[in-house]
């Protein structure tokens, strides 16, 4: 599904990712953990196509094709989804309009007909219930005046509607209380399937108790320095990141 080879990325001359390798197969959930400043969010943004990141070396293949060559909208239409760490407020554009436009853009790319209003409502109703989002929400402006938790639930709702092949969740757990975290996890888990891959970028282990990953990677100073399974995440939670960083330094 996703192959990242020797990825080097800099922002304003400063190198953030320094040779990152990662391979994610369909059906797998990977967690990328690491201390602040290790490059987790940079990785998520680069995969979605944010333009102020400079890829200086390496390549990223998505289903065998060069992902970095694609415009952000093309990535989205082909099934790449980024749940933003800080979802942007867009006054004057309402949620229903964006959801429908996003869904139809994806359907068009798949050669499908656009959804009509009735089908759209049928499609989103159960997903809104799952995310505990009320109907009034549809007429509100995208993320405007939303609490942190509402913004994150909205990201997951969009993901459920768009049914991406590759979902990248950037710190979706940050700023959530336990109840909101459970709702978000239920949403994410409902989408797990054999033909879909997920990359969870997170600082904390608590999300991984609810969305159990197949693989856990530690990102430190722009590289993946250790990989393991769920047990690694628990160990990191108990012991912090220092030991991994020391291990990496001495290797």
């Amino acid at each position: 599904m996703l192959t990242i080879e020797n990825l080097h990325v800099s922002v304003e001359e400063r190198e953030i990712l320094k040779g990152l390798d990662l391979s994610v197969n369909a059906g797998e959930v990977h967690a990328i953990m690491g201390p602040n400043g290790s490059g987790k969010s940079t990785l998520a943004q680069v995969l979605a196509g944010k333009d102020n990141y400079n890829v200086t070396q390496g390549r990223v293949l998505y289903r065998g094709e060069d992902l970095l060559e694609m415009e952000p909208e093309e990535r989205a239409r082909r099934g790449v989804f980024l749940a933003f760490q800080y979802p942007t407020e867009i006054p004057g554009v309402n949620n229903a309009y964006l959801l429908k436009a996003a869904l139809n853009a994806r359907r068009e790319a798949d050669g499908e007909q656009p959804v009509d209003a009735f089908e759209f409502m049928r499609l989103i109703r159960s997903r809104m219930e799952l995310m505990n989002i009320s109907k009034e929400f549809l007429n509100r402006s995208v993320n405007e005046g939303f609490s942190g938790g509402e913004k994150k639930r909205n990201e997951i709702l969009q993901m459920l509607v768009l049914e991406p092949s590759l979902a990248i969740l950037d710190e979706t757990d940050s700023g959530l209380d336990v109840d909101a975290l459970k709702i978000v996890a239920a949403g994410v888990n409902s989408l797990r399937s054999a033909d879909r891959a997920m990359v969870l970028v997170t600082h904390y282990e608590r999300l991984l108790e609810l969305i159990v990953p197949d693989h856990v990677h530690v990102l430190s100073d722009g590289r993946i320095v250790k990989s393991g399974d769920h047990e690694l995440a628990r160990e990191l939670d108990a012991r912090g990141y220092d030991w991994v960083q020391q291990e990496a330094a001495s290797a």
Partner: protein
């Protein structure tokens, strides 16, 4: 147009208009006042950002011949196609001439609706004859105005559906029209009025209008104007309003077309508790110039005003906002707000924005703010990351910027119409779709 040519036109026009000696003298005085000063130039502080030369140097016919029956039927057809409902109380003007066959003057009880030329002078409110000191173009209108609309509401009268005034430019180039709109609301009257300005086909002419509003205590006027001319027309207009105690005025001005547009607003909050809300949206690109020039006088205590104008300025477009709030002596407990927010879509787009305050009282809450910005990169990226094409995302965000003004339109049908017209004219081309 030189002064001599203008004088000849005026002399000919004065002879044609069947009016009393008194009225003729008023016209002559107005014309003299205009001629003495001539067209304002950019040396005049009030006209610093707007150059009237394209109008003053154009050869224009100030006394256009009435529309032919053929033109009238084409206008009828086009209004029909545009979905104008026949049952609506409506006055239709073609190149400034009232068109009886397309109009319907029946209105709600206590509301009278008539073409000005059809009224006897005795029927006209006194303020319909007031001079327009400080407004040279309105003075010119006073000299040349042939016709227009009178909307009068008796005490307590209410419109049950909006009254419409439709001004159509018939496509004959080089015509100048000087319509006059007189609105007179009795105590507690409530009136909603929509002005539509449109071109039957693209032409270059000048539309120089004056709207005179007098509101008795407790009256409410909601006034919308959709200026949807082609991009070659010149459009200038003065709206002057005087509000008595607890009267409320709510305006929504949408300027989408026009080559050179200048709107003057002169609002006097003369009675305690009077309130005025002026909302505006304009699009200016491809060399269009739109200037909103406001003077808001808080004469009485406990008066409130809010001005909120938004401009979307594209390629070679130029926008101007000049808003002046004057709080008079002893006018305490005033709340006055002004905002001018502008979205620049091209490197050569230009906006001049100048809020001014003159305050002679001490218990006053005044605020003004101006913003000038471009489309937000993070918002664009967010939309593109959801699969919207770059241009679609740009249009959507541009439309969203306009939408905060559209949302204040209380009439759903009008809101949809304006939204559709805005979307059709967005600088990036294709429609942006609605958000509500």
């Amino acid at each position: 147009m030189n002064t001599e040519a203008l004088s000849r036109q005026f002399a000919a026009e004065l002879d044609r208009l069947p009016r009393s000696a008194e009225a003729a003298a008023r016209r002559a005085a107005a014309f003299e006042a205009f001629s003495a000063a001539g067209f304002p130039t950019r040396r005049d502080e009030q006209w610093r950002y707007t150059d009237l030369k394209p109008i003053s140097t154009a050869e224009l016919d100030f006394a256009p011949p009435p529309p032919s029956t053929e033109l009238v039927s084409r206008v009828a057809e086009s209004l029909d196609q545009a979905g104008f409902d026949e049952a609506t109380s409506r006055l239709v003007f073609i190149d400034g001439c009232y068109c009886d066959t397309l109009s319907r003057t029946t209105a709600a009880a206590g509301i009278s609706l008539a073409s000005l030329a059809s009224c006897s002078e005795a029927d006209l409110p006194v303020h319909a004859h007031a001079p327009f000191d400080g407004h040279p173009l309105a003075t010119l209108n006073a000299a040349f105005a042939r016709d227009g609309a009178l909307i009068a509401a008796e005490d307590g009268a209410r419109t049950t559906a909006p009254i419409e005034l439709v001004f159509v430019a018939g496509g004959r180039s080089g015509l100048a029209a000087h319509p006059r709109i007189v609105i007179d609301l009795g105590q507690g009257a409530e009136v909603t009025l929509i002005q539509h300005l449109l071109d039957l086909e693209p032409g270059r002419g000048w539309f120089n209008a004056v709207t005179e509003i007098v509101q008795a205590p407790g009256s409410h006027l909601t006034l919308y104007r959709l200026q949807d001319h082609g991009t070659r027309q010149f459009h200038t207009a003065l709206m002057r309003a005087e509000l008595a105690e607890d009267a409320k005025l709510n305006c929504g001005y949408f300027d989408l077309g026009g080559r050179l547009v200048r709107n003057d607003f002169d609002v006097r909050l003369a009675g305690p508790g009077a309130e005025a809300d002026l909302n505006g949206l304009f699009l200016a690109s491809s060399g269009q110039h739109t200037d909103n020039h406001i003077r808001m006088d808080h004469i009485a205590p406990r008066t409130r005003s809010a001005e909120s104008f938004r401009g979307i300025i594209g390629d070679r477009g130029h926008g101007v906002f000049n808003g002046k709030v004057v709080v008079h002596r002893d006018a305490q407990h005033i709340d006055a707000r002004q905002s001018s927010d502008n979205l620049l879509l091209a490197d050569n787009a230009e906006i001049d924005t100048k809020p001014e305050l003159e305050i002679y009282a001490d218990d006053v809450k005044c605020s003004h703010g101006a913003t000038i910005g471009e489309l937000d990169d993070d918002q664009l990226f967010y939309l593109r990351a959801r699969g919207l094409a770059d241009e679609e995302a740009r249009n959507l965000l541009t439309f969203a910027f306009a939408n905060t003004v559209l949302e204040r339109v209380a009439l759903p049908e009008l809101r949809e119409l304006v939204a559709a017209r805005v979307a059709a004219r967005l600088p990036n081309g294709a429609t942006a779709g609605g958000t509500r």
